[in-house]
């Protein structure tokens, strides 16, 4: 079954790559050289000073994303990863936009050289996706080893996500203005802040306490009675009824059902949003499928990791191979070094800072970043300092 899952996923990725190659050959993003050539030269704002030191992507006068800043930011990302858990992609994205001054530099060319402005946007997106793609690869492998990937849902989800991940880069590469990208990114950060905040509220914590109590009660009853000796007839996932609007299946004797349209629609929109923003989307898949589609967590988590991976492979492929978007590699290298330093620091600090306080710290930061990006992106100025 597992082998079959991976064969099917492999075929799916291959099909998507072929489809991308076949359909998208006419769409081609501009190269750095072309974008530089079409930008007005001079010392004014919105002009390129050709005598200035080459910086990001070799663009004269662009900020040189100093590896040390990248390293420091990534230590924070690694720290979040190893203590709070998810949201690493978003944090990496925040670094790519703000910390290195790329957004401000890119925005200066909004009117004078939209081509250069858009090239920088695409490069930030692909840089994020490389980071998220690598992490999705590792998490999918882990889920696979734990036997937590379920094929039927994966196919529905990946079907929608393949379409979204393929269409968005082709439709938007070279078309999205940096300011709009930052605005949408800000809204996304708000959504994360909300999810995480809920987790730290009394209600969120109460849910966890109830789960712990139920698990403990069961654990004690298990000690008294071996569940294997219940004599029930056990079988894996068994589809009991199938229609266009409802699939009912039993999972080792317990009944679950879902509407097959939901994973397709959700997969499409989440993957489209993820590709558009250059994030993984894992944090959206899980609540969507557990709350909206009403599926058990067991099925959702592993399968969504695969959907993220498939989506990322296709997005990166369409951006980099089809659209020729350049990536600033030394920065990603420095960031990976920082992430692993952070992942070592995290366990040591978690002894002194409880998880809930780390989450609250993260929520405050996310609200600040969300406010800043949303207002800067859509209004043109930030309502929180620095303005």
């Amino acid at each position: 079954m597992r082998k079959k899952t991976f064969i099917i996923l492999g075929v799916m990725v291959a099909l998507a790559v072929v489809a991308t190659l076949t359909l998208a050959h006419t769409a081609q993003a501009v190269s750095v050289e072309q974008a530089i050539a079409q930008t007005p030269k001079g010392m004014e704002k919105g002009q390129l000073n050709m005598d200035a030191q080459p910086g990001f992507l070799g663009i004269p006068g662009a900020p040189q994303p100093f590896w040390f800043y990248g390293l420091l930011w990534a230590i924070w990302v690694g720290w979040i990863f190893s203590t709070v858990g998810a949201f690493g992609g978003i944090m990496a994205g925040v670094g790519h936009i703000t910390i290195f001054g790329l957004a401000d530099f890119g925005r200066a060319f909004k009117k004078t050289s939209p081509m250069l402005n858009k090239l920088i946007t695409d490069s930030i997106r692909v840089s994020n996706q490389w980071m998220v793609g690598l992490s999705a690869l590792i998490s999918s492998t882990n889920y696979y080893r734990m036997g937590r990937i379920v094929l039927p849902l994966g196919l529905f989800l990946a079907g929608g996500s393949v379409l979204g991940a393929f269409l968005i880069p082709v439709l938007t590469a070279g078309k999205i203005k940096l300011s709009a990208y930052i605005g949408y990114f800000g809204l996304c950060v708000f959504a994360i802040a909300f999810v995480l905040f809920y987790d730290t509220t009394e209600k969120g914590q109460a849910g966890k306490k109830a789960a712990k109590a139920a698990a403990k009660a069961f654990e004690e009853s298990v000690r008294a009675k071996d569940p294997a000796a219940t004599g029930v007839e056990l079988s894996g996932t068994k589809i009991t009824s199938f229609s266009l609007t409802r699939v009912t299946f039993t999972f080792f004797g317990v009944e679950f059902s879902f509407n097959p349209l939901w994973p397709i629609i959700g997969g499409f929109f989440i993957a489209a949003l993820a590709a558009f923003l250059g994030i993984g989307g894992g944090f959206l898949y899980v609540p969507f499928l557990t709350s909206v589609a009403g599926l058990p967590m067991y099925i959702v988590a592993g399968t969504s990791a695969v959907a993220v991976l498939v989506g990322m492979i296709i997005s990166i492929f369409s951006y980099m191979v089809i659209k020729g978007v350049p990536v600033y590699w030394p920065l990603i290298g420095a960031e990976l070094v920082g992430i692993f330093i952070g992942s070592i620091v995290g366990p040591y600090t978690s002894k002194y800072i409880p998880d809930i306080w780390l989450k609250r710290l993260f929520v405050i930061l996310a609200i600040y970043v969300g406010l800043r990006y949303t207002t800067k992106g859509f209004l043109g100025y930030s309502i929180v300092p620095p303005f």
């Binding site: 190659l21 036997g147 056990l234």
Partner: protein, 199 residues
């Protein structure tokens, strides 16, 4: 694009491997294989050191994950949907923590790749490799990645002959045994009562 000082320093050593035979194609693949091997060995070394540094934390995470995962398997076997949902929620949380930490740690293995690609970008950005019968061509990334995978498997074969990695294997093997203790839902297939087991 002008090469930064860090890469200029490494350049004479790395490019030497691209000039061994005098045949352009052979040299390119040979040089890239050496570059990929360096990236693999550096990554293996740093991930081992990082792992040793946070072993205690990983042990705790793994213990929680195994406990709740096993409980959720038992709950579903007992057809207790409520206990299953509760245990599954906790198992997911513990597992989430564990694997996000592993993701962050895996950066210790992957970090040399972007540096290798950065150097290749300065050296081989203009080099195109045509894909036969398609009219498309790929760049240095498409060559480096499969060569890196090959280098990974090559090194895997000799890794445990080196004393440092042999010591690491002893530690890792103890984890393999622990992983076997974790029940998966597939285990239910072999439990009594399953039709396949019936005579």
């Amino acid at each position: 694009m002008e090469m930064p000082a860090f890469f200029r320093m490494l350049d004479p050593f790395l490019i030497w491997f691209y000039r061994i035979t005098g045949y352009a194609w052979v040299d390119f693949f040979l040089g890239t294989l050496v570059l990929a091997l360096i990236a693999v060995i550096l990554g293996e070394l740093t991930i081992s050191l990082a792992f040793l540094a946070v072993k205690k934390h990983i042990d705790q995470n793994t213990e929680d994950t195994v406990r709740y995962q096993n409980l959720s398997v038992d709950a579903i076997a007992a057809k207790d949907k409520q206990a299953y949902s509760a245990a599954n929620k906790l198992a997911n949380e513990a597992f989430g923590k564990s694997f996000f930490h592993q993701i962050a740690l895996s950066a210790a293995f992957l970090w040399p790749i972007p540096f290798a690609l950065a150097w290749m970008q300065y050296r081989f950005l203009e080099v195109d490799f045509p894909i036969p019968f398609t009219g498309y061509s790929v760049g240095y990334i498409a060559v480096f990645l499969p060569v890196y995978v090959a280098a990974y498997y090559l090194f895997k074969r000799v890794k445990y002959r080196l004393p440092f990695f042999r010591r690491m294997k002893v530690i890792l093997d103890s984890y393999e045994n622990q992983a076997k203790e974790m029940k998966t839902f597939a285990d239910l297939e072999t439990r009594p009562g399953k039709p396949a087991d019936a005579p």
